[in-house]
Amino acid sequence: MILKIAWKNVWRSRGRSLVVMGAIVVGIWALLFGTGFMNGFMVGYMADIINHDVSNMQIHNPEFKNDYDIKFYIPDGNKKVEEVRNWPGVKGATTRIIVNGMIASSRNASGVQIRGIDVQHEAIVTQLDSLIFEGAYFEGIKKNPIIIGKKLAEDLKVKIRTKIVLTFNDGNGYITSAAFRVAGIVKSSSIKINGQYVFVRQEDLNKVLSNGNNVHEIAIVTDSRIDEELLVNKYNAIYPGDLAESWRVIAPELAFMQEMYGQMLYILLVIIMTALVFGIVNTMLMAVLERMRELGMLMAIGMSKLRVFVMVLVETIYLSIIGAPVGLFAGWLTIRYYQNVGVDLTEYSEGLAAFGYSSILYPYLDADAYIVVTIGVVITAFVGAIYPAWKAVKLNPVEALHKI
């Protein structure tokens, strides 16, 4: 009957209880959608960077990353990549020749990383062809085509078919130059692809680089169900002279971002639930103070303090918990809807692009988040219940009975 009384007590002041429940619904919805929204930013950004730039793992000569000197190539890189392509869990692997240099148009010049790519496999690994914004993917220009990013094209003030010159140190240490024509312009949320990389065919670069047929980088994209760390360990065990690294090591800022956004749910949870606790405590304190005489009577006729405590506790928990499923469902539904249609942030696309974010955002929240929020609500309910319940049992029945 104590549960029944507690339940009925919740509905004594219907309006007041509904306001608190409404606050809980909105709070949980905001918490889920806010977290899903931010996760969407993070997941979208990371997916862009991993899929179009870093890949799941990369292999280099251990010395190469220190100064990007072209002499630090991967021994037998082309043979190794053939082997890796056949490994279970590997969706694609491509080789790159990497050299730092200058790009110059008739209007401007800039420092860039020149990437000599395997056109066919690069498309599999980084889907570079899908980023073409203008022109074509190494088509339409027969001799020395080059793909550059949109921002770089704007800085250099070049268009499709414009001639540009790349200058770099060749394998013999001599400064050398070669002319290329813009075949395509790519647009990506990756700042590097947009403004720092240029892509040329390996065979074209090799002609002027005097680098033999050597490659500096193998980029590998893995099946999403495979932990890339296992493949990294496997490669390093087989080829201890090379250095295989996962995206977490190559782009630690992404790993940090993933960790930070993982904490976001907890930060928001604490903020929103703390605000809700105050609302719950306020409502329940009012309920207790309004019923002082009744509570005094209950204690006078022989209801133990423990039972009074439990009654107020249960009442508060009811108040807190009723709104939770509605809020959880509303949050899930909103995220589900926007997961399909996306949140259109085109209005802010320029600002978002500056930070490497996409202008269409797909909120994302995994199942664990709903469990965490549910646990958070239960804890909030208990925390919110303790003070009013304690206040109730501290009543002196004699004094409480004489309250008007």
């Binding site: 009957m1 009384i5 006729i301 022989g302 209801m303 004699v398």
Partner: protein, 228 residues
């Protein structure tokens, strides 16, 4: 048989700027089946005395025995359980639980006593029959008149099968018809069921029905009149 034995109790409130001596050496005994009114002017110590008899307050000195058990030094937690099983309360403002029906209000105290559901339902209905309000069993207190609410309160007080019932100004909020009905019911319960009633009251109609009247003045027993 003595239900209540009060020996020279005093109660001094020291929280005020000047200590207030609410009770000053009060002694009496109440036997089983008595119908006693405690009367006196406002501030004479009636409510304080009732609180002490009901185990809701402790005397500053003296001794209170209920059914030969000294409750003077009993701990608050033990007193709650003692009240539950030994004392029935009827309050001036009825103090029913508004969210429960009449029947549930009567049942509630037996629930605290862990009485079996069937038994407590039967006893509650029997008591409501005796109080003449069985047809109101499924109504909420707010749907009852003041007199009916007070009858529910009496039924609730009787439900726990207490040694005695303490009623603090039970008719203060009732009209004359309701007062008369309530007093008749309580008189019948006293006469036929040998229930012991102790009232604090100003109401002359209650005083007239009582078979013993203890008059307090300035915290002392001024007179103790037993009527036949």
């Amino acid at each position: 048989m003595s239900v209540i034995k009060v020996e020279n109790i005093t109660k001094v409130y020291t929280e005020t700027a000047v200590p207030v001596h609410a009770l000053n050496g009060v002694s009496f005994e109440i036997q089983e089946g008595e119908f006693t009114a405690i009367v006196g002017p406002s501030g004479c110590g009636k409510t304080t005395l009732l609180n002490i008899l009901g185990g809701l307050d402790h005397p500053t000195s003296g001794r209170v025995e209920i059914s030969n058990i000294d409750i003077t030094e009993m701990k608050d937690s033990d007193l709650i359980n003692f009240r539950l099983n030994n004392i029935g309360f009827v309050f001036q403002a009825y103090n029913l639980i508004p969210v429960l029906t009449t029947l549930e209000n009567v049942e509630f105290i037996m629930l605290l006593q862990k009485v079996d559901k069937k038994k407590r339902r039967k006893r509650s209905m029997d008591l409501l029959e005796q109080m003449g309000i069985a047809e109101k069993a499924n109504q909420r207190p707010s749907e009852l008149s003041g007199g009916q609410q007070q009858r529910v309160a009496v039924a609730r007080a009787l439900a726990s099968k207490p040694n005695f019932i303490l009623a603090d100004e039970p008719t203060a909020n009732l009209d004359s018809v309701s007062t008369s009905n309530l007093l008749d019911i309580m008189a019948v319960m006293n006469r036929e069921e040998k229930e012991t009633f102790i009232f604090s009251t100003h109401d002359q109609r209650v005083i007239d029905k009582a078979r013993r009247v203890i008059t307090l003045e300035d915290g002392r027993v001024k007179s103790d009149e037993i009527r036949e």
